[in-house]
Structure formats: C-alpha cells, structure tokens
C-alpha cells in the first residue's frame, strides 16, 4: 500500500519539492541581501540592545523602506494562499479521482478494504505534507529572521508562516479537499469547494479570533516610546512586546500611557492554539471522510465517468424475439 500511495502521489510530491526549491532560492537571494542591508544599516549590536530607544530609528527606517513592503506585504499575500493551494491540490483528487474515473471499482474490489486503503493513503500523504510544511516553515523563518528582529514574530506576516501554523493550514486545506472530493466526486470542483471555506476560516481566525486567544496584558509604554505605532513599531528588542501585537487594534493607548497588548513572548502559546484549531478541523474532516467511505454504500448511480452507452448490435431489447419466420 505504501508503494501504491507513492506511485499515485509521486507527481504531486515532485511538484511540492519544486515549489520548496523555488521558495528556497527566493529566500536565499532575498535573505542574503536582507542580511547585508541589515548590517550596513547599522542594525547590529548595541543599536538593537534592550535599552535603546530611538538610536536605530534611521537604520530601521532605511531597512523597512527597502524590504518592508516586499517581505511584509507581497510575500504575505502570496504565502497566504499558497498553503491552501497545496492542501486542496493534493487532497482534492485523492478520493475524487477514483470516483471520477471509475477506478474505485478496481481499487476497492482488491483484497484491501477501502477504509484501510483510505487510512493508509491519508496517513502517508499527511506525513508528506507535514514534512513539506516543516521545511517551508524553516526556510521562511530563516528568510525572515532579520525582519523579525525588528518587528517581533507576533504580528500577522510573521506569525502566519513561522512555528506550527503554516503546516496546520496546509493540513486543514487538505482535509477539507479530501472530504469535498468524496462528497462532490469531482476533483476540480472539490478543490474550489474546499479552498473557499478554508480561506474564510483562515482569515476569520487571524483577524477575529487570534487577538482574543489570551487575555491581553496592560502596561505602561516604555519611556522612550512616544509613538508606539512608529518609533516602537519598528523598534528594538525591548519594544516588540508592544509591537508584537496581534490583530490590528489591540493596541489602544489610553491617556495614562498605558497600552493593552499581547506580549511577544506569547508567540508559542498562540502558535499552539492556532495550530490546534486547524489540526482539529483537519481531524474532523478526515474522520468524516473515513466514516462516510465506510458507511456510504453505493457510488454507482453517482459516478460521472460512465457515459450512456449507445445500443450495440444484438443488445437485449433492441429487437423483438424474432419468433415469426
């Protein structure tokens, strides 16, 4: 069964490796120039030290001018949909292709029962996607490291690709697509039908739920930060506690210079919570798929692969019995 799974998915595996390679090439080129700019802008050593305030402001500004929009906006918008695309492209055809081409009759009539067939395939493909997600995360984390030193990691564009959540996003889209494939029985519509709710959930979690994963902390803004959104926003390692906000509006200054925020050291708890949500959705979708495949008895009437057959010569019912001579 391992070989069967590999044989059916090796094309996808190759495509995923190519994608990973392209990402790595981009990350190495951009990451290297980001690193040299980082030091030439003087953003090293004491400048980034805990107690520094505005010392690095010029360097930070120059660095953000050069890389800010590319790394934080362009890359983010691409990387927002890529995990979903990977997931639905791999998952959409996993069951649907068998139903689409009628090969379910072949593969489910072998001695291996179809629920085991599905369980093995899901386990192996899920494992492959976890490896892919981890590798992509590692590449992106290395690439973003200079930027993260300035912005912290508990902001949208860093949080979404670092740690655990990227892998969880891929798995969730995969799970949705496998289930949609079983229900819709066609690969491409299943991919679309899975991607749309995936993206909706992904954005709703990011912008609605994520700021409330934990009760925000409230505290005074550090003395040097007169303008947290700007000065501290691109600040220094003491400041990412403030800049490390999650959500757009968690930061609310009050007259007493107090700020409500999600401290940057909550990065990992937040990662676990968000990854947990998506892994739970994945498990629900895949569990439903196995259950439906086990329970649902008939596919015949629904398989689109069999066109109506034109009557052949000698077909029953085509002519009378021909009794009369």
């Amino acid at each position: 069964m391992m070989w069967v799974t590999w044989r059916q998915h090796r094309g996808q595996a190759t495509a995923c490796l190519a994608l990973l390679a392209a990402l790595a090439v981009y990350a190495i080129i951009e990451g290297t120039s980001m690193r040299s700019a980082f030091s030439s802008d003087g953003l090293t050593g004491s400048c980034l030290a805990r107690t520094q305030g505005t010392g690095c402001l010029n360097g930070t500004g120059a660095f953000m001018n050069e890389f800010g929009s590319e790394v934080n906006i362009a890359f983010w918008s691409v990387a927002l949909i890529v995990p979903g695309l990977i997931g639905v492209l791999v998952g959409g055809s996993l069951v649907a292709r068998e139903l689409e081409y009628g090969t379910w009759r072949l593969v489910w009539s072998q001695t291996v029962p179809r629920t085991r067939w599905l369980a093995v395939k899901l386990a192996l493909v899920t494992g492959g996607l976890i490896v892919l997600g981890a590798a992509m995360t590692a590449v992106i984390m290395w690439y973003r490291a200079p930027m993260d030193q300035l912005t912290g990691r508990l902001i949208h564009n860093a949080f979404d690709f670092e740690g655990l959540v990227l892998t969880a996003y891929i798995l969730c889209a995969f799970g949705f697509a496998v289930l949609a494939g079983l229900l819709i029985r066609r690969s491409i519509p299943a991919m679309v039908a899975a991607f749309i709710p995936w993206l909706a959930i992904r954005l709703v979690v990011e912008f609605v739920f994520r700021p409330h994963f934990m009760t925000p902390a409230t505290g005074p803004v550090s003395a040097n930060c007169t303008s947290p959104q700007l000065g501290c926003g691109y600040g220094i390692s003491s400041v990412p506690q403030i800049t490390g906000h999650i959500g757009d509006l968690v930061l609310s200054m009050n007259p007493g210079n107090l700020v409500t925020y999600q401290p940057a050291d909550r990065f990992w708890p937040f990662q676990f919570i968000e990854a947990g949500i998506f892994v739970a959705l994945t498990a629900a979708a895949l569990g439903a798929t196995i259950w439906l495949l086990h329970r649902r008895a008939h596919w015949t009437a629904l398989s689109p692969a069999l066109p109506p057959r034109p009557p052949t010569g000698g077909a029953a019912g085509a002519a009378g019995p021909g009794f009369r001579r």
């Binding site: 081409y101 009759r105 008895a297 057959r309």
Partner: protein
C-alpha cells in the same frame, strides 16, 4: 433435462432474496439464484436492469439492503477483506490507472492482494504480447480489457465476476476475451459470472443463465436445460393459452398465426400432435428475449420458497 445438484454440494455463488434500494426505489429486489462451482454463468438483462448493482453486491463493493450473498458457502460481508478476497472483479469499462504502466498495475495488484500470482499475470501478458512497460493509456481497448481481466485472475479468487466485459470491445476482441475467460475457467476450478446486454456473444460460452429485468430475476438455471424445457410454437391465432402444451411465457399475436414461447410441461403432449401447429426448439437469444419482454406485472409474494431449491432447472415463476 439436465439435473443440477442444488442441495448437496456447496454452491459457488448463492444469493438469497437479495435486494438493494436506492432512496425509495428498489434497484434490485428479491433476487435468489445459485451458480454451481465451475459454471460459466451469463447474467443477461437490458441496461438498467440492476446487473451492476447485483454484481457489486456479489463482489462486496455494495452492501445489500436486504438478503445475503454467499460465495462457496461463506456469507459475504461488504467491504471486508475476507469477502473481497473470494471474488475477482472486472468492472464495466475495465477501469485502470491511465498513467500506470502494466507492470505498475500488477504491482498494485500484488500490494493489495495476498494471493497475487505474479507468474500468471506476467505470463498472460507475454502470451498476449502486451509489453509490461507500456502505459495503460497507450493500450488498445482490447488490451486494457485483457489487463483488467488478468488482474482479476491473478488475484486467485475462486469466483470471477465480469461486468459487461465485452460491451466496449470490437467483435474480434470480444471473441478473444470470451475465449480466454472460458479457457481459463475450463483449465482451473474457476467459476465465472459474466453480465452482458449483448446476448448473442454469450451463447457459445456460457452454460448457466440468469435473466434479470426490472430489478427481478426472471429465469435462472442451466442453459441447456432451460433451452430443452422451452418450445417455440406457431399456432393459429385464436388458440387459447389453456390449450397450449405448457406455460405461456411470451405470445406474439401480430399476424395470422401466433408465435408463442412455452415452457413445456412434460406431462402434456407435445405440439406435434396438433395439426396446423408447428413446434421448434428455441434459441438462446429467443429465450432471453421472451423473458425480457414478458408483459406480466412482476410480483413476488407468491414465491415463498427460493427458486433455487426447486428440483430441475431453476426458474422464477411469476403469476400472469
């Protein structure tokens, strides 16, 4: 009339009041028949008669709504390895993975079937001159059918089920495939069940007949016995059914004479004794057609005993 052993030995295939409902409509109902070990049985019926539904239940792909299937005495449970292992199945249109090579298909067969016979599979491809390295999409329709058949054979299941194996093939490939199936069945202990709506092709190869129409078994039994038991009569048009020697299966009254297919009653005199009557043996195709075209409404409650338990050729007898 051929007598087949219905009670003593274990039947290769036995269905008991098998039924499958799709939503509110029954795709197949009250389907009872047997196929003895070693038989090559033809399951004949028009499209939509429920043939595929029946075969999928026999294979273990589809769970019956009611009734049960047993294969060599073992009751089948849909979707379990034990049930799936007993039946080799070639589905309609011979589904295979298009981008697999023939060798890949066989490797899949080996990976998914403990009893896989690689020697048989490779040997058949050698005989048929189908290269193992060729991709499925590069094969002709006949070659694909042969690969699909080989996969089912190499599974080494005692019962082989073929769903419309020849419908999509040209006449040459049809004859070749049917010859291969019957040769294998004759050379091994294999029991074969072939569904088809192409009646003519089956006559030469099948020794057991099951006629299915409108979701019900119309006729089931040994082909030779059924043919011997039926007569095709040409009688004057006003002859009432009651005077005919046997039970009227189908009657065609267009014209001066009536063409009547009767199931002969051995206790009654044959038609030859009547002046102006003519009696002929019935052909396989005429027999099937007559049962398929019977206008009688089909009810089943009059038949409490499974048809297979009756002596002689089994037949689903229905009220007229």
């Amino acid at each position: 009339m051929a007598e087949h052993d219905a009670g003593g030995s274990v039947q290769a295939l036995r269905t008991e009041r098998l039924g499958r409902r799709y939503g509110r409509a029954w795709g197949l109902r009250d389907c009872t028949f047997e196929v003895p070990a070693g038989a090559v049985a033809a399951l004949v019926g028009p499209n939509g008669a429920g043939k595929t539904t029946l075969l999928e239940m026999i294979t273990g792909l589809l769970k019956p709504t009611e009734g049960q299937v047993s294969v060599f005495g073992q009751t089948s449970r849909a979707g379990t390895a034990a049930t799936l292992a007993r039946v080799g199945y070639v589905a309609q249109d011979h589904p295979l993975y298009r981008d697999f090579t023939v060798a890949d298909m066989f490797r899949l067969g080996r990976a998914m079937n403990p009893g896989w016979d690689q020697q048989l599979a490779a040997g058949r491809m050698d005989t048929l001159d189908i290269p193992l390295k060729r991709r499925v999409k590069a094969l002709s329709g006949g070659q694909r059918a042969q690969v699909a058949l080989t996969m089912a054979l190499a599974k080494r299941a005692p019962l082989l089920v073929l769903d419309e194996p020849i419908a999509s093939l040209d006449p040459v490939a049809r004859a070749e495939l049917m010859r291969d199936v019957t040769a294998v069945a004759a050379g091994t202990a294999l029991t074969v069940l072939i569904s088809s709506h192409v009646v003519a092709e089956l006559e030469r190869f099948c020794d057991w007949l099951i006629v299915l129409s409108r979701g019900h078994v119309q006729l089931a039994g040994p082909a030779a016995g059924l043919l011997a038991a039926h007569r095709l009569l040409t009688v004057p048009r006003d002859t009432p059914d009651a005077e005919l020697p046997g039970r009227v299966i189908y009657r065609d009254d267009d014209g001066g004479h009536s063409g009547v297919l009767v199931r002969a009653d051995p206790a009654r005199p044959t038609a030859q004794e009547h002046p102006g009557w003519q009696a002929d043996p019935v052909s396989f195709e005429q027999l099937v057609m007559a049962y398929l075209q019977r206008p009688a409404p089909l009810t089943t409650q009059d038949d409490p005993a499974p048809a297979a338990q009756r002596p002689g050729p089994n037949m689903k007898e229905l009220p007229r």
